[in-house]
Amino acid sequence: MAVDEKGSMTRRQLLRMIGMTAGSAAMYQAMSSLGFAAESTFKRPIALRGAPKGASVLVLGAGIAGMVAAYELRAAGYKVQVLEYNGRSGGRNWSIRGGDTYTELGGFTQHCQFDRELYINPGPWRLPYHHYGILHYCKVLGVPLEAFVQVNYNAYLHSSKAFGGKPQRFRHVRADYNGHVSELLAKAVQSQKLDELVDKDDQEKLLASLRGWGALDKNYAYAKGTASSNRRGYEKDPGGGLSARPVPSDPMSLKDVLGSGLWAMLSAGENYEMQTTLFQPVGGMGRIGEAFGRELGPLIRYHAKVLDIRQDEHGVTATYEDTTRPGSRHSARADWCVNTIPLSILSQIPMNVGQPMAEAIAAVPYAAAVKVGLQFKRRFWEEDEHIFGGISYTDLPISNISYPSTGYHSPGKGVLLGAYIWGLDAMEFTAMPPAQRVRKAVEYGSQIHAQYPREFDNGVAVAWHRSPFTLGCFGLWSEQARARHYDDLCRIDGRIVLAGEHASYIPAWQEGAVTSALDAIGRLHRRALAQGAKA
């Protein structure tokens, strides 16, 4: 968290910070340079036509990229086969549900004890409205969607170093931050401090806008009263009848708001990728991968571990092991190959491509990430705290707690995302046995919800570097590596083209996988047409 370590700010620093626009622009720039916040290139459904007669494609990997490629190439008339390491379709598109078993690298096995129908998504978990590609396939495959709540004004912002470690409601921090900043800026205008920057006409408009934005009173003050309580909530909410008179709440002081550092957590929902409306598939993100798997049916060969990829003048051969029969060797051959194996694994598989693609494959480290799903005996966050969906953010290693955006008011048990961890903390959680990760998530989460120890039932923890099918979470491109290697990674090498989130400017997002696959098969199809029928 980028909190000023001194915890205090000069007035000039504060005014600089007020430049909300400048702030978001700078953040956007940083995100864009890393490939985040880039708009999807998906415009309309792809319609490849007229595969050369008898032409075939071997797809490696039945994740989102591989299955989009297989689905569209089959529609274009290619003979398609898919090899998949796992015994299921979807790859990182995956939900762990009650009754599932997951064995991570090192042999650590977890049996998910969630109630049936309850789940966590260890990988992707939300779909921005502007990820047109993945949403298109949800529609085509008949995967029903529901709203994913990102911003919840009644969820918490929490710092272990502020307010005695007591979590604060998002609406309190949001309203008080905006309110105090507005008041300061209004004072600066009224005392002619901004005359050089804003002309008289605009000063009036600015004052009016600050009153609305910050919920200031008629004197441009942010103070206890109806205006501020309409934002932050009342001490006692208005109601009906004799006992109905509302009691306004007391705003926190500017010093407390700034000193808490909680303002740094206010903007998560303002990033392009987190803006309303967001979706999730009903029943778990894994529903997309499952639907694709059903659609492609026998085209996918499961439990196939690719050992070697060889291309020659006429086609591509993959040698693979059927992991249900260890030591067995099989081969699959086609005219062309769409290879979606994550670079973490592909970098270890012999494949005769040119030096540029080989170097690109070896140049991308994988991000560490950990998610922990916790089942509780009751939905206390709804019953006791009136939190329905959304996310609480914290400076603790668990980083956030996300409440289910579905099943509101359900009696019985509930599952929330108890940790979503990156960086050093993720590496450390990865190094723990799964049961310890769960215990730590409960321990940290207890600082935010006192009900945790009593209501905790069981949990599941996924550390992506221990995932047997990815050896990491996603390709972590540095700006330098991308400048040097990205194009070489994406260019067709002979008869092989790569696809996946790692071959996109939207890393870690399924939209990157979709648009990468569509781009790759479009180019491959043109090349196949140029070469005519079976070469």
């Binding site: 560490a368 190094a431 050896l471």
Partner: protein, 158 residues
């Protein structure tokens, strides 16, 4: 060599490791602070670097792991004969393994992109730890100065 242990014995060892791992975690060992902060992390030694970072992939027993791809084992791995090779790998990263070399964080980089770095002394310490554990008995040690020299002459791959 450990890698050639019969499967049954290896499974038994693994099961035992699991039990011990869980028991140790439950007893809140004095040297288990849970999770280090960015600053306390800089004070830990090679053994702690191993148990808090490296074993995530290379496993508590240094056996590595095999899935669709693999993490190399340290037990019986001939490349360990060269301490500079091991130190360079930690400094520069390799394939999906990130570089752990000391560097300045890029300002404004999002949290998931915040690289984790080790001091030169920690790199030396963890290399020496690996080369004297998991059945390895290399007597020669790499020094912090040697790691610094390696770091200054190599450009991280990522």
């Amino acid at each position: 060599m450990n890698r050639n242990r019969p499967p049954s014995r290896r499974r038994a060892a693994l099961a035992l490791g699991l039990v011990l791992g869980l028991a140790a975690a439950g007893s809140a060992l004095a040297d288990d602070p849970g999770v280090y902060s960015a600053s306390t992390f800089k004070t830990i030694d090679g053994r702690q670097v191993y148990t808090h970072i490296c074993q995530g992939c290379h496993m508590p027993d240094g056996q590595g792991a095999v899935g669709a791809g693999h993490y190399p084992a340290f037990a019986g791995n001939p490349v360990l004969a060269s301490a500079p090779y091991l130190a360079s790998t930690v400094l520069n990263g390799r394939h999906d393994m990130p570089s752990f070399a000391e560097r300045k964080a890029a300002p404004g980089s999002p949290s998931f992109n915040r690289m984790v770095s080790l001091t030169d002394a920690q790199v030396a310490s963890v290399v020496n730890y690996i080369r004297s554990h998991f059945g390895n008995h290399y007597a020669d040690k790499i020094t912090t100065a040697e790691v610094t020299a390696l770091r200054l002459q190599s450009q991280p791959a990522h």
